[in-house]
């Protein structure tokens, strides 16, 4: 803020305004969800909204996806730096991973909000596009050796509206270079619309309370958030944690995968957490490099997953987390022109896991296990021609995977977790809607019983899914992780199962596919995929037998695993609904096996 805010306001008023601003973010979110044209936006909610202050601090992000939104204030800063003539009525498009964005597929719409001539806020709506004009029909180009091979149109905070009027040049550029341009244009209008809704509401808010109170609120709210963070960190023990992770191989470039290392220093006395990421490999000649925004967001998500969930996520609480990054590293600040095409998911997912699980080293009750990773068959970008509409082209990302969530010290993994970077906040597609929108047919979708990593609290199981085209061939592209290295358990919890993918020929022959796949599926053929599952927390032998019983009745667990991994013996049977825990036999079995560590995969 340019001017000093006045003395503190009533804490109740601070809470009221903070909730009102979250309400504005939710109204933006609903606008975009209802107005978006592509399924990845209007069904899967692969987008996030936020309010940033005039001096480029993240103020509120409500249910924004962690990976999208924790760095969005840096894009607002880029906008202000590039445009000295910033004015009311402007809107900007930003998707440049080298000046603050996550990856090029996330089009971020930025609207500076002015009140009484002062730039008080920036409204940000960031949506993953169905297509961005990449050299192949996917928004995740794993094989792109640089930004040129990736092929996306890049907009480094480019003005798209002036004085509330559209700058048609940019629209023409996109229409000339993005697949299914009408779909893109609908999402473009929805994105601007969401940001404009926020502008209107924030002006109403300013008119109601006056500029001075709003400025005082901004200062107080960020300071309060910092205080909450200080209290959260002070409750932790002083420690230096080191954790490692590894992304799957990507043949032939990365036969050993991508190793990751996160070093965390917790300093309760100064209420600070320092994350050192500098000991990581250099940028690689493919699309798996992290943008700075994704590095920061993924690590921040891992940190927040290990803290009191009530701590507001904004620039105030971020003040207590220091990140040490190296330029030209695969996680950190990318060196141009290395591609960040897949920055929001794969390596970022591993970073969320690696950071969150590190905190479990502090002792029982801290941190969480690793969640299921991998954008496999059920996260593929599908494209082709639609025989129902004069063979018109379609392209869209399916968001119908679940990838089991990780167990924590007090809860089982969330079933429809999605990915570590979205933490269950995205929606899943509906099979019926996907079949209506695209000429495809789902053959089956079912949970895999017993796939969740065992533990005192267990990871959520993964899903088994298969689909194929109705008429013309369908191009399926995905950059899956978690097919070689599954999610790891913590504090004695077991790891999750790996993802897999198969091509099924017309005569039913299943052929295993590599983890990074581009394939054309013809009529009569199918593609089948397994999601990975979440890992467990704590010794499975300590799991409440009643929870194991419930899991078996619901077919989330198998009776065999109940006995072997959890040491739970049942009497009766599922068939006549008489299944019950045999307490004496269970106690005897568990007493005899407490010495054995749980290592089941």
């Amino acid at each position: 803020m340019s001017e000093q805010a006045s003395s503190t306001i009533d804490p109740v008023l601070t809470a009221v305004i903070a909730n009102r601003i979250d309400g504005v973010v939710r109204e933006m979110t609903n606008t975009l969800l209802r107005a978006g044209r592509s399924a990845v936006i209007n069904s899967a909610r692969d987008f996030s909204c936020a309010i940033v202050t005039g001096d480029s601090q993240l103020l509120a992000c409500a249910e924004g996806l962690p990976i999208h939104i924790f760095g969005v204030h840096n894009q607002a800063r880029t906008m202000a730096e590039y445009h000295a003539d910033l004015a009311e009525g402007d809107a900007f498009l930003h998707n440049d991973p080298y000046s603050g964005n996550t990856h090029p597929a996330d089009h971020c719409f930025l609207v500076p909000v002015f009140f009484e001539g002062e730039h008080l806020f920036t409204a940000a709506a960031k949506a993953h596009q169905a297509d961005i004009g990449n050299s192949i029909p996917t928004t995740y180009h794993a094989g792109a050796k640089d930004v040129y091979e990736e092929g996306s149109l890049i907009f480094p905070a480019v003005r798209i509206q002036r004085n509330y009027e559209m700058i048609d040049d940019v629209i023409r550029m996109c229409r000339s270079r993005i697949r299914v341009p009408g779909q893109w244009y609908g999402d473009f209008l929805a994105g601007i619309g969401a940001a404009r809704v926020a502008e209107r509401r924030l002006k109403e808010l300013c008119a109601k309370y006056g500029k001075e109170i709003i400025k005082t609120f901004i200062r107080d709210w960020l300071d309060y958030s910092e205080q909450r963070m200080i209290h959260g960190i002070r409750k932790m023990p002083k420690a230096k944690l080191v954790n490692t992770g590894r992304h799957d191989p990507f043949e032939p470039l990365l036969p050993d995968g991508i190793p990751l290392k996160v070093e965390i220093e917790i300093d309760p006395q100064n209420a600070a957490i320092t994350i050192d990421l500098r000991d990581n490999i250099d940028n690689i000649d493919c699309g798996f490099n992290e943008s700075e925004a994704c590095t920061v967001s993924a690590v921040m998500a891992g940190v927040f997953n290990s803290l009191d969930p009530e701590i507001p996520r904004n620039s105030g609480s971020f003040r207590r987390v220091k990140m040490l990054m190296r330029e030209g590293a695969v996680v950190g600040k990318p060196k141009f022109p290395h591609s960040c095409s897949v920055a929001t998911t794969n390596v970022a997912d591993r970073l969320v896991n690696c950071t969150g699980a590190a905190f479990a080293q502090l002792g029982d009750g801290y941190g969480l296990a690793e969640g299921g990773v991998g954008m496999g068959v059920a996260f593929a970008v599908v494209s082709g021609k639609d025989h129902r509409y004069d063979d018109s082209p379609y392209v869209n990302q399916l968001i119908i995977a679940n990838n089991g969530g990780p167990a924590s010290a007090c809860a089982d993994g969330w079933l429809t977790y999605g990915l570590p970077v979205v933490g269950g906040l995205m929606y899943r597609d509906s099979v019926e809607i996907d079949e209506l929108k695209h000429p495809m047919e789902f053959k089956h979708m079912r949970l895999v019983a017993g796939s969740g990593g065992a533990g005192r609290f267990r990871g959520a199981p993964g899903c088994d899914i298969a689909f194929g085209p109705k008429e013309h061939p369908i191009t399926v592209i995905y950059p899956c992780d978690g097919q070689h290295f599954g999610a790891k358990g913590v504090r004695g919890g077991a790891g999750g199962t790996c993802a897999e993918g198969w091509h099924i020929s017309a005569n039913g022959l299943e052929t295993k596919l590599p983890n990074v796949t581009q394939i054309e599926i013809k009529k009569g053929e199918q593609i089948r995929g397994l999601d990975s599952s979440g890992a467990g927390y704590g010794d499975p032998m300590q799991r409440d037998p009643r929870r194991v019983l419930h899991d078996v009745i619901e077919k989330w667990e198998t009776p065999q695993r109940a006995r072997e991994l959890y040491g739970v013996v049942f009497s009766g049977s599922i068939d006549d609904e008489s299944l019950a825990v045999d307490v004496a036999a269970t106690t005897a079995l568990r007493d005899g096996r407490t010495a054995e560590p749980a290592t089941a995969e």
Partner: protein, 125 residues
Amino acid sequence: MMLLAAEPAIDPVVTAVIANRIDGIVREMTNTLLRAARSAVISSARDFSCGICTADNQLLACVEGLPIHIFGVHEQARAMTTAHPRDFTSFRSSRTPGKSCTIGACAHGCDPQITACKLGLGTLL
């Protein structure tokens, strides 16, 4: 096609003089680009062409422009005027008394001519 009724025919000599003068402008464009360009494909190999189109998008002159570049360049001028209807007034209306000629901002002076040139860039992204 020129919609504006031309003035009575001028002296053929004047016609030839102006035609050569316009070719001279194209050559001056060409030399400017050749001397100012940074990439070798432009500054050494001259993989570019210049042309002058009329305001109603007919190719008027292209001297030593490469045939593949330049014989259709008036279609791009047409795309420009079509894409920016509010910024470009037509040749006819620009001559209408009382209406200003807004193309002057893009072309040279207030001459109702539109210049266009084509480049083979060193790296096509």
